[in-house]
C-alpha cells in the first residue's frame, strides 16, 4: 500500500456538449478521500454529483470534456492507458450504482454477476474458489448464500442493493464510490443497507465517497462532507458540523429541509428552498446561488465567491460569512 492520498480530485471541470452549447456540469471541484475515510458529497439533483462520481473511473459519457486531475493513488485516471485503467476499475475503485434494480442483468444469476468482476480481473480463478468467494461476500452483506442461484427479479429492492454492495467489494477495492445507494429504497431498508455499507468500509479500512442528496444520512455516516451547488463546492468540513451548524446558506437550507426529532414545528412545515438550481448553460457572473439565497446582497453579484477557510478546518464559498445578519438588505436582487 503506497502512502499517496487515495483519491485526490484537483480543479476538475466537466462539461457536456449539447445542442445549445456546452453545459458545464462540474466547475473546478477539489476533493480528497483518505484511506479509511468516508467522504460525503451532498447537493440537489443536477448539481454535478453523479458526473463527479463517474469521472473517478473515467466513466463519463463520450460527449463530456474533462480538464483537471483525478489522482487515484497518485496516478491520473484521466491520462491512464487502457490497461492501467482496467486494473483500476473495480480492483482499485468500485462503484455502488444508483439504481441496483437496473444495474443487474436480468438474464444472469446473482452468483454469476458477482463472479463477473473476479473473472474479468483474474480469468484463471477456479470454480471452487469463486464459489467460496461469492458465498463469503453474500454472507458479509447479510444475504443467504443460496441466493447466488437466484435471478435478479426474484430479489427485493433491498436485496438487490446488497448484491450490488457485495459486487462492489468482490475485488477488495481500496475505494468504494457509492452513488446514491439508497435512493430507491424505503427508510427501513435504507438504514440496513447503510449499516452494511459503512460497517464493511470501517472493517476493511477502505476509502469511500458517498453521494447523496440526504444531508442527514451523510452526517450520520461520513467523516467529512462536501456540499455542491451548480457544479461547484460551496462548503466543505467535518460531517457533524456541516449538518448541525452550516456556514454557507445553501448548506443551511439543505440541512433545514430535514425535520428534526423533537421539533414538532419542523415536522409539519419542513423548511424548503424555493426555486430550482440554475441552468448551467447560462450562469450569472456572480454567486450562482444568489437568486435563491435568503442572505443575498449587492456584494454577491459582481464575482463568483472563492472557497475560503473558516473556523480552522472548514471551507465555504460565500462572501457574506462573518457579516452580521441584521444588516441584511431586502432581497430585491432575487429577480
Amino acid at each position: 500500500m503506497s502512502t499517496a492520498t487515495l483519491l485526490a480530485i484537483r480543479d476538475l471541470h466537466v462539461s457536456y456538449a449539447t445542442g445549445e452549447g456546452p453545459l458545464p456540469a462540474v466547475r473546478g471541484v477539489d476533493l480528497t478521500v483518505e484511506r479509511g475515510q468516508i467522504v460525503g458529497v451532498a447537493g440537489e439533483s443536477g448539481c454535478g454529483k453523479s458526473t463527479l462520481a463517474s469521472t473517478v473511473l473515467r466513466l463519463q459519457p463520450p460527449s463530456a470534456t474533462v480538464s483537471g486531475e483525478v489522482l487515484f493513488d497518485g496516478h491520473d485516471v484521466m491520462t491512464m492507458r487502457w490497461g492501467e485503467l482496467r486494473a483500476v476499475r473495480w480492483a482499485g475503485a468500485s462503484i455502488v450504482f444508483q439504481g441496483a434494480l437496473h444495474s443487474l442483468n436480468p438474464v444472469h444469476r446473482i452468483g454469476a454477476q458477482i463472479a463477473e468482476p473476479l473473472l474479468v480481473h483474474d480469468p484463471s480463478l477456479g470454480r471452487r474458489s469463486i464459489d467460496e468467494r461469492i458465498e463469503a461476500l453474500l454472507d458479509q452483506v447479510g444475504l443467504d448464500p443460496a441466493r447466488a442461484r437466484s435471478y435478479p427479479h426474484q430479489l427485493s429492492g433491498g436485496q438487490k442493493q446488497r448484491v450490488m454492495i457485495a459486487m462492489a467489494l468482490a475485488c477488495d477495492p481500496e475505494l468504494v464510490v457509492a452513488d446514491e445507494p439508497t435512493t430507491a429504497l424505503d427508510v427501513m431498508v435504507q438504514a440496513q443497507v447503510l449499516g452494511v455499507l459503512s460497517g464493511l468500509v470501517r472493517e476493511r479500512g477502505v476509502g469511500m465517497m458517498m453521494i447523496s442528496h440526504d444531508l442527514s444520512v451523510l452526517a450520520e455516516l461520513c467523516d467529512r462532507i462536501t456540499v455542491m451547488y451548480a457544479g461547484r463546492v460551496v462548503e466543505e468540513g467535518p460531517a457533524g458540523k456541516v449538518f448541525s451548524a452550516p456556514i454557507h446558506p445553501y448548506s443551511g437550507a439543505l440541512s433545514a429541509a430535514f425535520p428534526r426529532v423533537g421539533d414538532p414545528a419542523a415536522r409539519f412545515s419542513p423548511a424548503g428552498l424555493p426555486g430550482d438550481p440554475p441552468d448551467p448553460r447560462n450562469l450569472s457572473a456572480g454567486c450562482s446561488f444568489a437568486p435563491r439565497c435568503p442572505r443575498a446582497a449587492e456584494i454577491c453579484l459582481p464575482a463568483e465567491p472563492v472557497l475560503t477557510t473558516h473556523l480552522d478546518d472548514r471551507m465555504a464559498a460565500c462572501v457574506r460569512i462573518g457579516q452580521p445578519d441584521p444588516l441584511r438588505e431586502p432581497t430585491e436582487v432575487a429577480g
Binding site: L57, L59, P62, L85, R86, A87, V88, R89, W90, A91, S94, I95, F97, G99, H102, S103, L104, N105, P106, V107, H108, E116, P117, V120, H121, A146, R149, S150, M167, C171
Partner: protein
C-alpha cells in the same frame, strides 16, 4: 411452520429446475393458444417426418434416370399417384426426396445467415465511432443491392453444388437480421448493467457477449424461423433458374425441369403443382411459427 411441514424443502438447484420447467410450460401453453402457430407447427412436423423417413417411403433407386421404367410424363395412375416426369420417374418419389434437400438448404443457409447477421448487428450496434459505422454501412450496402442478381452472380462464380448454394443464400440473406439485432443492441447498450460491466473493467467483447447477446437471443430465435422461410424460397428460386445442384433433386430443381420440358403448355399439372404447393406450405408453416414465437417471446405483443 405448517407450510414447512406440508411442502418438502427443495434445494436451490431443484427449485431452479422446477422454475425453468414451469417457464417452458408457460411458453408452450401460450404457443398452443396461438391457432395459426399450431397449424404451422403441425404442417412442419409432417414435412420433417417425411424428409426423415424418405428411405422408408420411397426407394432411392426411383431417383435414378437409368433405372426409371415408367411412362413418360404420364398423368397420375394407381402405380404413380402423382404421375411421372420426362424420364419416367415417379413425381411422388422426387417430391419426397426433394423435401430433404429443400429443408437442409433452408436450415443450413439460415444458420450461416443468422451467425453473420447477429455478429455484424452486434458489432455495428455496440461499437461507437467508425467501427460501428463501417459495419452499419456494410449492412445498408448489402440491403440495397438487388438480392437476386447478387445471388445469381455468386452462384455462377462459385459453381453449382449443394454446399455452394447454401453459402450463396447464407451470405446474401443476413442484412435484415443484422438491422434487427443492431436496433435491439442500441437499446440494450444503454442499460445500466452494461455501464456496470464497463465499470468493473470489462472489455467491449465481454460486455457484448455476456450482457448484450443473451438479451437479444429471443429476438434471434423468432427471426430464425422467418429467415428459414426466406431461405427455402431462395433455394427454390435459384434452382428454378438452373443454379441448383444438378445431381440432387429439390423442389426447386423439379420446378426447373418441369418448366424446361414445357409442363405448363402441355398441361402436365401433376409435375408442377405438387412441388409448388410443398414450397408454399413449408414457407407458410415457418412464417406462422415465427409470428407465433415472436408473440410468445415478446410480452408487449401479447393480448392484442
Amino acid at each position: 411452520m405448517t407450510a414447512e411441514v406440508t411442502a418438502p424443502r427443495l434445494s436451490p438447484r431443484q427449485l431452479a429446475r422446477r422454475r425453468r420447467v414451469a417457464s417452458w410450460k408457460r411458453g408452450w401453453t401460450r404457443f398452443r393458444a396461438h391457432r395459426s402457430g399450431m397449424v404451422g407447427l403441425a404442417v412442419l412436423v409432417v414435412f420433417i417426418a417425411i424428409a426423415l423417413a424418405a428411405p422408408l417411403l420411397a426407394d432411392s433407386s426411383g431417383l435414378d434416370v437409368t433405372q426409371a421404367d415408367g411412362p413418360i410424363l404420364h398423368a397420375p395412375t394407381a402405380g404413380y399417384p402423382l404421375g411421372t416426369d420426362e424420364n419416367g420417374r415417379s413425381v411422388l418419389t422426387l417430391l419426397i426426396w426433394g423435401s430433404r434437400i429443400s429443408l437442409l438448404v433452408g436450415l443450413m443457409a439460415t444458420l450461416i445467415s443468422m451467425v453473420i447477421g447477429t455478429l455484424i448487428g452486434l458489432v455495428s450496434g455496440f461499437f461507437p465511432g467508425w467501427v460501428g459505422r463501417i459495419f452499419f454501412r456494410l449492412t445498408e450496402w448489402f440491403l440495397v443491392i438487388p438480392y437476386l442478381p447478387l445471388a445469381i452472380a455468386l452462384a455462377t462464380v462459385l459453381g453449382r453444388s449443394l454446399v455452394n448454394i447454401i453459402i450463396v443464400i447464407g451470405v446474401t440473406s443476413w442484412p435484415g437480421t443484422a438491422l434487427l439485432i443492431r436496433s435491439q443492441t442500441l437499446s440494450i447498450r444503454e442499460r445500466a448493467y452494461v455501464e456496470r460491466a464497463e465499470a468493473i473493467g470489462a472489455g467491449r467483447w465481454h460486455q457484448m457477449g455476456r450482457h448484450v447477446l443473451p438479451n437479444v437471443m429471443p429476438m434471434i430465435f423468432a427471426n430464425t424461423t422467418l429467415t428459414v422461410a426466406g431461405a427455402i424460397l431462395a433455394e427454390t428460386t435459384l434452382s428454378f433458374l438452373g443454379l441448383g445442384d444438378p445431381t440432387r433433386t429439390s423442389w426447386g430443381t423439379m420446378l426447373d425441369s418441369a418448366f424446361e420440358v414445357g409442363a405448363i403448355t402441355t398441361g402436365c399439372w401433376w409435375y408442377i403443382v405438387p412441388p409448388g404447393v410443398c414450397v408454399v406450405l413449408v414457407v407458410l408453416a415457418f412464417t406462422l411459427i415465427g409470428n407465433a414465437l415472436e408473440e410468445v417471446l415478446n410480452p408487449r405483443l401479447r393480448g392484442r
